[in-house]
Symmetry: C2
Subunit: 155 residues, 2 copies
Amino acid sequence: MANIYDIETYEPSESIGYLMTRVKVEMLAALDRELAADAHLSALGVTSAQFVVMVRLVGTADRKSASDLCKDLSYDAGAMTRMIDRLEKKGLVRRMRCVKDRRLIYLEATEAGRAAYPRMLEISVAVQNRFLRGMEPQDARRLRDYLARMLHNAG
Amino acid sequence: MANIYDIETYEPSESIGYLMTRVKVEMLAALDRELAADAHLSALGVTSAQFVVMVRLVGTADRKSASDLCKDLSYDAGAMTRMIDRLEKKGLVRRMRCVKDRRLIYLEATEAGRAAYPRMLEISVAVQNRFLRGMEPQDARRLRDYLARMLHNAG
DNA sequence: CTACAATATCAGCCTAGGCAGATATATGTT
DNA sequence: AACATATATCTGCCTAGGCTGATATTGTAG
């Protein structure tokens, strides 16, 4: 299996790792700016990281525990505890101890959380569309497949 | 110009933003692990973030100031000051006040920095090749072009 | 030349993630 | 049942980035 890069010809500024890191920074920064600027959401002070957690709770079907979220998001467990503290304090999320396995804490979006969600999602979709400007749907599918493969290769 | 995503059909888990954020986390985590595990580099305690700065100093031709690096890397200026403090403390980088514009501080890799660089680069290339496993060179070029376009769209 | 704006670096404060260790619960083994 | 092992959450500590304001220097308008 052929390697993509070799040391002799490797161009850091054009490498996929470099570009991806920068795009990620810029995209989350844009999301943070626009979440903070929104008339309704600014009161909640929702950050991009908090939004990403809300997506997993509201935007996906199955019930999630804190550790599920850590796996879903490549996120540290200690950091997740405090993340949920913040979301709970803002009234967006509820903790519910699982009765079958009392180690688990299931998480649930509150009414307020579900109410705020559509606007957050709208902003996130708009930001992504802006970054994908000029691409055909076929390009976006390819890009998505490349990223999915890389995530798979991460093991 | 058509939007890629619309709210009704948007699937968070398959979105490019979500996937990219996760791939970036996994890739830098892998780089950190392997930099820390390397026999020669572990003594220096070089992190992925520090490596990225070294790339800009050793791996590119032109002389760089701290603020150049901030622009190159979408990095905060205050954080960059401390980043350079750490690299200087490890003996990998030198500060040199510019005589023409005394606000500027040019940065230069030391002998030790240049000596350690090839091995860092080797590890970085290996990590990226692992994440790109199974892709044809044509796919990697496409992926790179997509990312470059997104970075351009960031403005 | 002076006043004012722009730029580069730096220092202080705050926030937040990673890691190690503690506790509680569950699972598997003997 | 007793014990060890694994898992989930939480807490304390450390590191590091973002933001704000301070200082020094440069560029610019009058």
